[in-house]
């Protein structure tokens, strides 16, 4: 099976869906002539032309709203934010327009569109460029929020997001674009939104992760397996709607859980996961559920401080040992 980068898997998804449906177009900063700030849209302008691969001025609020307007009258826009940090300028369109239109119009105006771009910290980009936005966006009824971790998932989830009839927030891991994985060729990959996937099978402790932290969880699971500790790694894949059944099934089996995410602790995705666990698995818990997340500070620039702020394998391992009563 071909080994493909996360970036190229996304590129394949965009290309296939633009071929599949001529209502689909891509709009954003540097998506055309520059081939994308992260080269996700490489070659698309040549193939589809400037009407379907649209370079915009630096105007997130404006072009996000243009996408919503186009979606109202039947197109299927994909709006690329160069990073989700810039999308804050466009949140009125994402939250007040895209997410609410169907409800306010009582079903008359669905908004089939995708807002996508890199999310979460990369390396030494410091405070304004190193943030994970999924808990903010998942708070909003009317949106779907997707966080693929692997090239295969990136492709299959993006294709499904583009075909979805709702506004989908698609959060790509900035540090994941170069990661590689198997992506089959000549096969239509459509992964349903709202379904988690077990990335490692184990009976001792559940680790619930999404996006970049899935890779950390897998790394820790593989290391601990050598000690005979088997982690059940659940990749949420979609934050909203969240696959509560998958979480509950895993935790009922292992009786303990650690939730790991890139974002901050307060009102984070992990808080929601823990809430589901206490409701669905109360009688099955043998230890309090622990969370691993970014330190509760703006991201610092210095290498050592940045490392200390981010969730990593060491912090996750410590949390797992704690819920296993191993220390």
């Amino acid at each position: 099976m071909p080994i493909v980068t996360y970036r190229d898997a996304l590129n394949q998804a965009l290309r296939e869906e633009m071929q599949h449906d001529d209502r689909v177009f891509l709009m954003g900063e540097e998506v055309g002539e520059y081939n994308g700030a992260y080269k996700v849209s490489r070659g698309l302008l040549d193939q589809f032309g400037p009407m379907r691969v649209v370079d915009t001025p630096i105007a997130e609020l404006g072009f996000a709203g243009i996408g919503v307007g186009a979606a109202m009258v039947g197109l299927r826009p994909i709006i690329e934010f160069m990073t989700w940090n810039f999308a804050l300028l466009a949140l009125d369109q994402v939250v007040n327009a895209a997410a609410k239109m169907l409800y306010m119009s009582n079903g008359q105006f669905p908004i089939p569109m995708v807002f996508r771009g890199p999310n979460g910290a990369a390396l030494q980009l410091s405070a304004q460029h190193s943030q994970a936005w999924e808990s903010w966006l998942a708070h909003i009824p009317g949106l779907k929020v997707v966080t693929p971790a692997t090239p295969y998932d990136a492709k299959g989830l993006l294709k499904s997001a583009i075909r979805d009839e709702n506004p989908v927030v698609f959060l790509e891991g900035e540090m994941l674009y170069n990661t590689k994985g198997e992506v089959p060729e000549g096969e239509e990959i459509l992964i349903p939104l709202g379904k988690a996937e077990r990335k490692r099978q184990g009976e001792h402790c559940s680790v619930i992760a999404h996006g970049k932290t899935v890779l950390i969880a897998i790394q820790v699971a593989d290391a601990l397996a050598k000690e005979g500790i088997n982690l059940d790694v659940i990749d949420l894949r979609t934050i909203r709607p969240m696959d509560v059944e998958a979480i509950a099934e895993s935790v009922k089996k292992t009786n303990r859980a650690v939730v790991v995410e890139e974002g901050w602790e307060m009102c984070g995705v992990g808080a929601q996961v823990v809430d589901y666990i206490q409701r669905e698995c109360f009688d099955f818990l043998d230890a309090p559920v622990l969370r691993v997340h970014q330190a509760d500070v703006p991201m610092p620039y210095a290498k050592n401080l940045e490392r200390a702020a981010k969730p990593d394998a060491q912090k996750l391992t410590a949390a797992v040992r704690k819920v296993l009563y191993l220390e």
Binding site: N255, R279, F282, D283, F284, D286, Y325
Partner: protein
């Protein structure tokens, strides 16, 4: 067509407005949009404008009066139009020019309820229910349930400090596998009992192994159901009752209690008891059994004390379930003799004995100690000749029974030594008035002093 002028909501939160000034007189011509009056809202003085053309035919409230939003306050109509019906309707709906419209105002229809900030019916403010139906761990909560019964005798609530810490899973496993949590040493943080502790304990033979508790006295439970609809009558509170309730609670606390004491002659009870003992062990009953029977019979005749206080109403029961305070090691519990008025002395005696034993053994089920309509507490066996018991809400009364003692009393003008017993009834004054309680005690006295009536 006549135009009704109503008190309008001139601010988003306004519920009533005070008419500061009429700017038009009756008989003045008015045009739509013209100012009719100045209205003081909850925020400012605003202008009320006409919504139709014609003549201001009738002003229905005076300057200075307050009217709720929506109330008709004037009529604009053509000069010759008949407005009797409109004006008459208004007169029925309110007493115009009354001095105290304020008190009545909130009672009027409030058309702006859509904008009140607090949802009036909590059932309608349904967000996504984050709270699941309470799943109770019976074992964990029984302790508290037991402790709260202590209120009946004034014992303080037990401190939860000695609670065994355990994970939810450990509790469930312990319950499934019949492991007593108290016998397990926890290995988790702070001594928390966790899964592995239960698994280890379950593989050891159990000390003093819990004989299957539940099956033992399961027999008559079905028939002992707690009162259900039809078994009682709810009486809404009258105004006088509400006033009494408020005043009494202000005076003495949440349960305004008063006490009625009577010294009963139990000479005949003692004779009857001895006679029964002579008939054989199976006829042996205690003083307390006889008191329970007498109380049950008296309650049956006095439903006005066989009652619960439910905050907004009083509930009178047609069935008599007598709670019986039993001292246990670290407090007390009040198991219930259900339908005691329909049970014979022998049945009551046997049941009381069983319940007391099972209470001391900590083997009562919740349905065996809830649902009493009235309670009895007896400290006679401790030599207490007189005491007051604390009502166990929502019950409205409890009878405290002292010891049986020989006392010198006057009988028919001569000194005599008689067996006597003090009873003190604590009454929730919100439900039971002095005379009501006294009448109940009268009946009780007649029964106790003529115990053959109990056998009848």
């Amino acid at each position: 067509m006549a135009t009704k002028v109503v008190m309008e909501a001139l601010s988003p939160t306004m519920e009533e407005g005070r008419l500061v000034k009429w700017t038009k007189n009756e008989g003045d011509a008015v045009k739509s949009g013209e100012i009719l009056a100045e209205i003081e809202t909850d925020k400012a003085v605003m202008e009320l404008v006409a919504r139709g053309d014609g003549v201001l035919r009738k002003r229905l409230i005076n300057e200075g009066d307050t009217a709720p939003v929506g109330q008709l306050i004037a009529i604009v109509a053509a000069a010759d139009e008949n407005i009797d019906e409109l004006a008459g309707g208004a007169a029925d709906a309110q007493a115009p020019k009354a001095e105290e419209p304020k008190a009545e105002a909130p009672a009027q229809e409030r058309p702006r309820d859509a904008r009140t900030s607090v949802p009036e019916d909590p059932a309608h403010s349904q967000g996504e229910a984050s709270t699941p139906p309470q799943e109770r761990d019976r074992r964990g909560h029984e302790r508290f349930a037991t402790a709260s019964q202590g209120a009946a005798l004034g014992a303080g609530d037990a401190e939860p400090g000695d609670r065994v810490r355990s994970s939810p899973l450990a509790r469930k496993l312990a319950s499934d596998r019949g492991v007593e949590l108290g016998t397990v040493q926890g290995s988790g943080p702070g001594g928390r009992i966790v899964k592995r502790d239960i698994e280890q304990a379950a593989t050891r033979p159990q000390l003093g192994a819990a004989a299957p508790v539940a099956q033992r006295a399961a027999a008559p439970v079905a028939e002992r159901r707690i009162s259900t609809e039809g078994d009682y009558q709810d009486i809404p509170l009258t105004q006088i009752r509400k006033t009494i309730v408020r005043r009494l609670a202000e005076s003495i606390g949440p349960v305004p209690t008063f006490y009625l004491t009577a010294e009963l002659d139990v000479e005949r009870v003692a004779e009857m008891r001895e006679a029964m003992i002579e008939l054989g062990d199976q006829y042996k009953v205690s003083f307390n059994d006889i008191v329970l029977k007498a109380v049950a019979t008296a309650l049956q005749q006095h439903p006005e004390v066989n009652a619960h206080w439910l905050g907004d109403k009083m509930r009178y029961f047609n069935r008599v379930h007598v709670g019986m305070a039993v001292a246990v090691e670290d407090g007390l519990i009040t198991p219930v003799i259900f339908d005691a008025d329909r049970k014979g002395l022998a049945d009551i005696s046997r049941e009381a004995r069983e319940l007391a034993k099972r209470a001391r053994d900590r083997k009562l089920k919740p349905e065996e100690y809830t649902g009493a309509t009235f309670s009895v507490s007896n400290l006679g066996m401790f030599g207490i000749d007189h005491f007051t018991a604390i009502i166990n809400p929502p019950e409205a009364g409890i009878l405290a029974v002292g010891s049986v003692e020989e006392r010198v009393v006057a009988v028919d003008g001569a000194q005599a030594i008689r067996k006597r017993m003090n009873v003190t009834m604590s009454c929730d004054h919100r439900v039971i008035d002095g005379a009501t309680g006294a009448k109940f005690l009268q009946t009780l006295r007649r029964l106790i002093e003529n115990p053959l009536m109990l056998v009848y």
